[in-house]
Amino acid sequence: MIHLLFAEDDKSWLMSFFNQWGNAASVIGLVITLIGFGLILRGQWKIRRATEETVRRVALQVAAAELGTILRLSTGVREANVQGQYELALYQCREAGSSAQSLSHNPHIDEGHSQALRDAALDLGKIVKHMVGQRSKHGKLAALTPYQARRLEAVITILADMNGRMQNAVLEV
């Protein structure tokens, strides 16, 4: 009986405690849960943003490195042409053209750069076509025409400009 009375007393004390503090605890708990959820979301957003920035930085670095290679190959065409190494010029021109075409599909470079790379690939392709045409007509490769040498110079200028911009973009990301 004593135990029963004590138990009932204890239960009523607990009930009274729950009744007194239950609603407040629920509200505080809800607020803490909402704050925690917000903090988790913020953390997740920060992680996602940092990951995206890293991916973009790496992609731009890869694109900048690829563009540097295309630029070196294009200047190589110019030098090989001047030195009369036409087979080397043809090889480098083909490589530069196909690499420019490939890089134009990179989703991390802007539309203007993509168009410029497609244009460069078309121009390098025209130079290759001219060289191959000369070989089939005369049996050997010949120098670029002065017009084509000028256009190659224009392509190199555009690629060099893009390379500079892309290097800066890598640093800014």
Partner: protein
Amino acid sequence: MTTREQFVGTLGKLLEATRAKQLAWKETAEEGVYRASFKKATVEVGRFEDEEVEQHYLQARLYNKNNAVVEEIKGSLSNGNTKEPSPLLRALYELARDSALRPEDLLKSIEDELMSAQRQQ
């Protein structure tokens, strides 16, 4: 409507846009060939020589994003018996050349230079 007819229609629109100076053409690595670049395609118009028959002709080419030719229209320059739209190609070629080479700017600069020389005398 076939793709060819659609391309002819597009060339007409390019002609109007070039005439209105809304579209700029650029030189290419092939002399006498001019290019207009778009987001998903490239159009070239130019004067070519068929070495086998020693005949010049105008041609417009449509390239996709992979720089593959997806449509081309050829129009003979030296005779009029072609069914291709030579007047359109000729007009587009001339406007594209003017847009790329800007001869009017050069002529204006010469005129300006002459005017300033006359003023100084």
